[in-house]
Every structure is written in C-alpha cells, then in structure tokens.
C-alpha cells in the first residue's frame, strides 16, 4: 500500500523527469546541437554551480512575485466568477469584456505598467495577475454552474440564502473545477512574472534571462528556464496536493 504510493508519487515522477532530461541530453549529443542554441544538461548544471547563490536569490525574488500575484489573481478570479455567477445580466455584460481583455497580449501592456508603476515589484506583480486571473474565472464559473439539480433543489427547499447555497453547496461542488483553473493559472503566473522582469530587468529569473540573452549566454538562460520549470512543477504539485486535501470526496464519487 504505502510502497505503491511511494512508487506512484515519488519514483514515477522522478523517473519521468530523468527520462526527459536524458532525452534532452541525447538530443544535444546525437544531433550535435551547438550549445549556443541548446546547451546540454551538463552545461546547464555546470553554469548553475558557477553562481548558485545568486541564482537561488533571483529565483526567490521571482517566486515571491509569483506567489503574491497568484494569490491576488486567484482571489480576484474567484470574486469575479462569483459575481458573474450570481447574476446572469452581469455575466452577459461582463464576459465579452473579460474575454477581450484576456486576448490582449499582456507583453504589449508591460511598457504601460512600467510608466504607471515605475520600477520595483508592483508592475511585475500586476503582470502576474493580468496573465493568470482568467483561467480561474472561466473554470470557477463552469464549476459553479455545474451543481447537480437535486443538490440545488435541496438548498432551495431549505430556503438557504444565496450565500449559504453558495458556500455550502455550489462552491464546494465547484472546487474540483476551480482547481483545474488553478493548475492552468500557476504556470501562467510564473510566465507573467518573467514577462514583467524581462521588460524591466531589475531582479528575478526574468532579468537573468534578459541579461543572459543580451550576453548571448545561452547556458545561463537555460539555467533560468530550468529553475522556472522547477518552480512550475513544485507549484503545480502544491496546488494538486491542496486539491487532494480539500476535495478528497471528488475522487470517491468518480472513477
């Protein structure tokens, strides 16, 4: 039992990562890819260990921005989804505007943010929010409108207030779908932070990428990308873990 859980929760993922890294290695070796374009895993590791402290510090800055922005985006996304879900009129009016805003490439707005908010953390955090709130809205809305008719009727028959129905029935039922939104939003949040940091490379992995590409130091850029990937995986699994914790029943009633 526990052995098979270790197997599937630790060994298999690790194996997957190892296979992926090996493939990368083989690709660079077999096709003789110039390390300028794609450095080999060894180059990347070596480059990392040239300045591990610096890189981890920059990672930490990016992580903080991502976390703050993500938290705001999720809160905002949930609130907007709830507001849209509470009134069909508002939904009909606001959804096209949201879809429009979301289709605008945020990179194009980065200079504006810089002008308005200057340097520092805020424009990056705002970028994280802009990039990652929409999936939360869409998936939460889908979740909120998927309450089974009989549970909804139960709430009505108890004359539960809108808020009670929302908290005790609709939101809980929507949680598995909310988590889909969160899982999609996590990597977007990371990308948002990087966009903000590339536009104004003060700190963080985005500024490492900007700096290394200005120096055509591809290996360093790849180190930053790998660190971002690691952050992405960790955050993804944190979200997935939270889901397990909060929605254990969902697995039980489905197959």
């Amino acid at each position: 039992m526990t052995e098979s859980r270790v197997w599937s929760n630790a060994v298999l993922p690790t194996l997957g990562v190892i296979i992926a890294v090996t493939l990368w290695w083989l690709a660079t070796a077999v096709f003789h890819i110039d390390p300028f374009y794609v450095p080999s895993p060894a180059d990347v590791v070596e480059t990392f260990f040239r300045t591990p402290g610096f890189l981890l510090q920059e990672s930490w800055i990016t992580i903080q921005r991502v976390l703050i922005g993500f938290a705001v985006a999720v809160t905002l996304g949930l609130v907007i989804a709830v507001v849209l879900g509470s009134s069909r009129t508002i939904e009909r009016m606001a959804l096209p505007v949201l879809a429009a805003v979301n289709a605008i490439p945020k990179v194009a707005l980065a200079p504006l943010l810089l002008v308005w908010m200057g340097f520092g953390d805020s424009p990056k955090i705002v970028m994280v929010i802009l990039v990652s709130f929409f999936p939360v809205i869409v998936s939460t809305m889908a979740g909120l409108t998927s309450t089974p008719a009989d549970l909804h009727e139960l709430a009505r028959s108890l004359k539960a207030s809108w808020w009670q129905t929302f908290v005790k029935v609709r939101l809980t039922w929507a949680l598995p779908q909310v988590f889909v939104g969160l899982k999609v939003a996590t990597p977007l949040a990371i990308i948002g932070a990087v966009i903000g940091e590339v536009v104004n490379p003060d700190h963080g992995l985005g500024s490492v990428i900007a700096g290394s590409s200005a120096n055509s130091d591809t290996a360093l850029a790849f180190v930053a990308l790998v660190l971002l990937a690691v952050i992405g995986v960790v955050m993804f699994y944190l979200v997935a873990g939270l889901e397990r914790l909060l929605v254990p029943w969902a697995k039980a009633i489905s197959s």
Partner: protein, 320 residues
C-alpha cells in the same frame, strides 16, 4: 577637472544622508558598453557628487524615452540617432542629450566570412536581418546609397535582436545589421571570422549612444544634471582605462554580465568614444549634430524643423 570642487561642496554640505536620488536607465541591459554607470557608482563618483543613483537596465530607445517622458527615470543612455528621429517626428521632445558616449554610430553590417561578402555592394540580392524598427533598419537605405548599393536589392528581414546571431550562424540570412559590439558574440556562435562594415564609414556624422536627461530636470536643477554628467563621464573614462576592473564591477553588480565579453566590448568601443578632433569625453559637436539631423531629414526619416538645441543641451557639453 572641476569635479574636485563639486565633491568638496556637496560632500561637506550634506554627507551621505542628503544624497539626491535619481534613476538612470542603461541603453540596453547590463553589457560592456553600459558598464561605466556601475563603475561610477561603485567607485563613488556619483556619491561624491551628492547623488544616489538607482541604475535600471534599459530595453531600447522607445522604452527609455518613455521612462524619461513619464518621469520614472531622470537620466538614460540610448542610441542618439534613434532618439533624434523620435524627436524629429515629434514623438519624444522633453529630453536633451547632455553627453555623448560614442562619437560614432555603432550600427554596422556584420556577416561571416564564408558568405564571401566583404563590401557593401556584395549585399545586392542578399537577405539581411535586423531588429524591427531599429535604427539599423531605418538608416540602412541612407547607408546603402552612400555605399553605392541600391537599397531595394537587399531584402531586410525583421527579427528580435536576441535571435540575430543565431540566424546568421545558421545562415538563415546573409548578413545582420546591428551594433558592431556584438562582433565577438557572433564569432563565438558561428565559429567563423566575422566581417564588419560599420555605417560610420559612410555616415561619419552620426553619434552612437548618448546620455540624456529630462528637460524639466535640466531647467529645475541644472547643477544636479551637471554633476551627474561629470560623474558619469568620470566613470566612462575609468572604464576605458581599466576595462578588467570595469568588467569585474559590472559582473559583481549584475552577475549575468560575463566579464570577458564586457572587457571585449569596452575595448572594442574605445575607438568610437574619443572625439575625432581631440575634444574631451562626452563632447557633442554642434555642427556634427546639425549635420546628422540633415542626413536624417534628407533621407526622409523625419520632417524638417528639428534643430540641434532641441536634442542637445550644449551648456553641459564639455568644451573642446
């Protein structure tokens, strides 16, 4: 020079607690050509001048001009020719150059030796990649005409500047139009000899990078601008004199900046920094500025009407 006096006055007046805070934006990221700012900071030139400088890494002319315009930054380095065009077309007018970093434009055509291209006329019928909307792209027709090449016979392809060296190395294109300081990087990537054809051969009146300041700041605190410019120039001189140390300082402040590359760049830009007529560092010759404006206007890059005073505040220019 006069900076010694300044150091005395401000230093005694306020001490480190009273430093004036300003933001300076580099031309592009943290590379050798911009190292002097960090050097000036690290060496205490700015502090001695009573200024606390926040150095931000720039991302090209438009963004830097925007930051100056919006007041987020007080000083910036940028490509002066590009900035002239922006001013001439009326886009950004609230800035003045206060010192030149490069007396000659750094824009050039670069290609690898295996293409067989050795002179501008060889480019006829070839494809050249350049950053979209960059000065390189805008100046190309003027350069080509002067070099005896019909610009219409060359196919210019836009690409992000970070992709240029790769495109050349893979021979997706026959040449690049970009800053000549990236020669070393192209050599590394392509592992071939690199042929450089600087625009300055034919467009000798164009400047390279310059330091600009916000117009309002110039009128409200002339003294600050002066002190800043002087300190920056001190940093520039120091960098030229001690490329290794400058590169080390840069690397310490911005670990992504590779020291060898920075040293190479500082050495490579040396010839372009000193004024042709022996004027001090940072000099902006009014006549050359006027001629450069005339070239840009003559090539239809901007309408008539721009005068040197609208892009340079000559009161700061170290006299020749």
């Amino acid at each position: 020079s006069s900076s010694d006096d300044d150091k005395g006055t401000t230093g005694s007046a306020g001490g480190s607690g009273d430093l004036k805070k300003v933001t300076y934006v580099t031309a592009f990221g943290a590379v050798g050509r911009d190292a002097f700012a960090w050097v000036a900071k690290e060496k205490g030139f700015f502090k001695d001048a009573g200024i606390d400088v926040d150095i931000q890494k720039g991302a090209g002319n438009v963004q830097n001009l925007t930051l100056i315009k919006s007041g987020q930054a007080q000083f910036a380095a940028l490509d002066f020719t590009g900035a002239e065009i922006q001013a001439g077309t009326g886009k950004f007018t609230n800035w003045r150059a206060v010192a030149a970093i490069h007396q000659q434009t750094l824009v050039s055509i670069m290609t690898t030796a295996d293409t067989g291209i050795t002179k501008p006329t060889d480019l006829a019928g070839k494809t050249v990649a350049t950053a979209t909307g960059s000065v390189s792209e805008l100046l190309f027709p003027a350069y080509a005409k002067l070099a005896g090449l019909d610009p219409k016979t060359v196919k210019l392809t836009g690409a992000q500047s970070t992709a240029l060296n790769g495109l050349m190395a893979q021979r997706k294109v026959d040449g690049l139009s970009t800053f000549l300081l990236s020669k070393k990087a192209l050599e590394t990537v392509s592992k071939k000899d690199v042929v450089v054809m600087p625009y300055s051969e034919f467009l000798s009146d164009l400047f390279g990078n310059a330091i600009i300041a916000n117009e309002n700041l110039i009128s409200s605190d002339k003294d600050l601008v002066k002190k800043f410019t002087d300190a920056a120039m001190k940093g520039l001189q120091y960098s030229l004199d001690h490329p290794e140390e400058a590169a080390a300082i840069l690397h310490k402040a911005e670990p992504t900046a590779a020291e060898p590359a920075a040293i190479g760049e500082i050495n490579a830009m040396k010839p372009y920094v000193s004024s042709p007529n022996g004027a001090p560092l940072g000099h902006l010759d009014q006549e050359r500025v006027a001629r450069s404006i005339a070239i840009l206007q003559g090539n239809g890059l901007m309408p008539a009407g721009l005068t040197p005073e609208k892009v340079v505040d000559f009161s700061f220019i170290p006299a020749s």
